[in-house]
Amino acid sequence: MTEATIKELQTTAIKVREHIIKMSTDGGCFIGASLSCADLLVYLYKEFLNVTPTNLKDPNRDYLFLSKGHDVPALYGTFAELGFIEKDRLKNHLKSNDHIYWHPNRNIPGVEFHSGSLGHLPAVAMGVALDCRMRKQTNKIFVITGDGELNEGSVWETILVASAYKLGNLTFIVDRNQFQANVATEELIPLEPLVPKFEAFGCNVQRIDGHDFKALDKAFRALPTNGDKPNVIIADTMRGKGLPSIEARADRWFCNFTHDEITSLIQELHGEGKTEIGSETLTVR
């Protein structure tokens, strides 16, 4: 991966984060989880996946399923930057004239399936992987789960089955941002050590820095083409990445900022100062 490519990815990721911040007002959104996987989504759609605005009906395209769901501002921000949807459309966030709300909707071009209830899309992605293999396709199927989502038994159930069916075309990506809704994962239901857990379930596991484009590229390029084990990529990330005033904090889960705070947060994203957040941000969602 060239330095120029890395620069480009970084530039796009900053723009995606701006979109995310802008969606964190007038109703708000799950900003922490969106910022943690922004780099991952930008890398995948811009650099790795065979998914473009023009091949969304091609059965041979790669598939990416966003199982954690509430990070959808990162997905839509990425789609806006890469031409899947008009940038202006993001202004429809939470408006009833569109389908842009706190979880993915299939009416948005690029969204493979709706999510919101955790622990579902690993199984849905596995169904797609089974079919692609039946049809002897060489495309790849990815599903992004949260780390808190790993509490759900259905995730592990699916990994057992995917392993039994030797689905090497299927990759589970864990956005390991260390937090579930209200608390750190390790304080509630400890997940570590994660690598041996997935290995014991029969997976080919890599663990990388999910904000390092070079590391992401190395990991995704290392996925075997004819593997007989499902793959797991654990992307170590930071909740709220890019905004020091909200990074790695349990109370920055669902945020509904004031317009002034949004302006300040965008400046902060560009390295200009730190935002004093006064609004109440922990909301029941």
């Binding site: 399936f113 209830s117 199984a123 596995m126 089974l130 089955v161």
Partner: protein, 306 residues
């Protein structure tokens, strides 16, 4: 032709069909070697099976999905509602041993709320065939419809010869009657045939309707019975709440009608487990016991001919 042979025939003719099971193979043991990769057994994982079925349907497949009725509808309910229902995908649910058919298993296995919860899912169609023949007439139309569906699998044999022209949303009207009309679905149909004979032998005019399609329901056939019979009887191996009695009540209200209705169902309780014949007798669902209840009700509520 039996259930397995029907799937085999349809799957070999149409490669969209895939057969899935959460390790319930009783009726489909010979399919793995015929369908190869299109036979997918996910093990005892109802949720994962339904999620994967949704994924397969996204790719244009028609998954016919098998599990015991309680585990399919209850363990995997949210996956059915959220992945299949919201997605409006043609996943075809085949439930084994629903209602009284789980006979000796006990309440863990008694799917007697399945009609209620499945019909609550927008777009989900619900079918309860009377017996094997009724089911085999129905399945080709159900499985080739673009809707998700739930079918109470019923492989019991019956002497009765059903109308082979099954239509989604159409009931099978066995007879019309002015004194009483019995509305029934599923395996209790055979018992109500006996009831009909017993009542007719006492000089009553008896209607009998096999509601092979519960959702959509045949509104016209039911309303016709409401208008022309003095008493309606709903017979179901289901909780009183949410099943046929509720469907009838909704229909009456919607049409601003009222009727004398005797509901025969399980009211706020599970049934006593045992061999099917024991269950039917103990719970009062044999043809004879149903007819006794109807006569009692006619005596109480309606000017009886007896």
């Amino acid at each position: 032709m039996n259930y397995e042979e029907l799937i085999k025939k349809m799957a070999l003719e149409d490669e969209r069909f895939v057969v899935m099971t959460a390790e319930n193979r009783a009726l489909i043991r010979n399919l793995p070697k015929v369908l190869n990769e299109r036979f997918i057994d996910t093990g005892i994982t109802e949720q994962t099976m339904i999620g994967a079925a949704a994924g397969l349907a996204l790719r244009g497949r028609i998954p016919v999905v098998h599990a015991l009725a309680t585990f399919l509808t209850l363990r995997a309910f949210e996956f059915i509602r959220t992945d299949v229902g919201i997605g409006n995908l043609p996943v075809k649910l085949s439930s084994f041993v629903p209602g009284f058919l789980s006979d000796g298993n006990g309440p863990t296995h008694q799917a007697i709320e399945d009609v209620s919860i499945m019909r609550g899912i927008p777009g989900m169609q619900v079918f309860c065939p009377a017996d094997e023949q009724d089911m085999l007439y129905a399945l080709p139309k159900i499985w080739t419809s673009p809707s998700p569906s739930y079918v109470r699998i019923n492989i019991r044999k019956s002497e009765y010869q059903h109308d082979k022209n099954f239509e989604i949303g159409k009931a099978e009207v066995i007879s019309k009657g002015s004194d009483v009309t019995i509305l029934v679905y599923g395996m209790l149909f055979d018992e109500t045939l006996k009831t009909k004979q017993l009542l007719e032998s006492k000089g009553l005019s008896v209607g009998l309707i096999n509601l092979r399609s519960l959702k959509p329901i045949d509104e016209a056939a039911v309303l016709d019975a409401v208008k022309n019979s003095q008493l309606l009887v709903t017979v179901e191996d289901h909780f009183l709440t949410g099943g046929l009695y509720s469907i009838l009540a909704e229909l009456l209200l919607k049409n601003q009608l009222t009727a004398n209705v005797l509901p025969l169902a399980l009211n706020e309780r599970w049934y006593k487990p045992g061999l099917l014949s024991e269950v039917l007798s103990f719970e009062g669902f044999t043809g004879e016991k149903i007819s006794e209840k109807i006569i009692k009700e006619l005596d109480k509520k309606v000017i009886s001919k007896i």
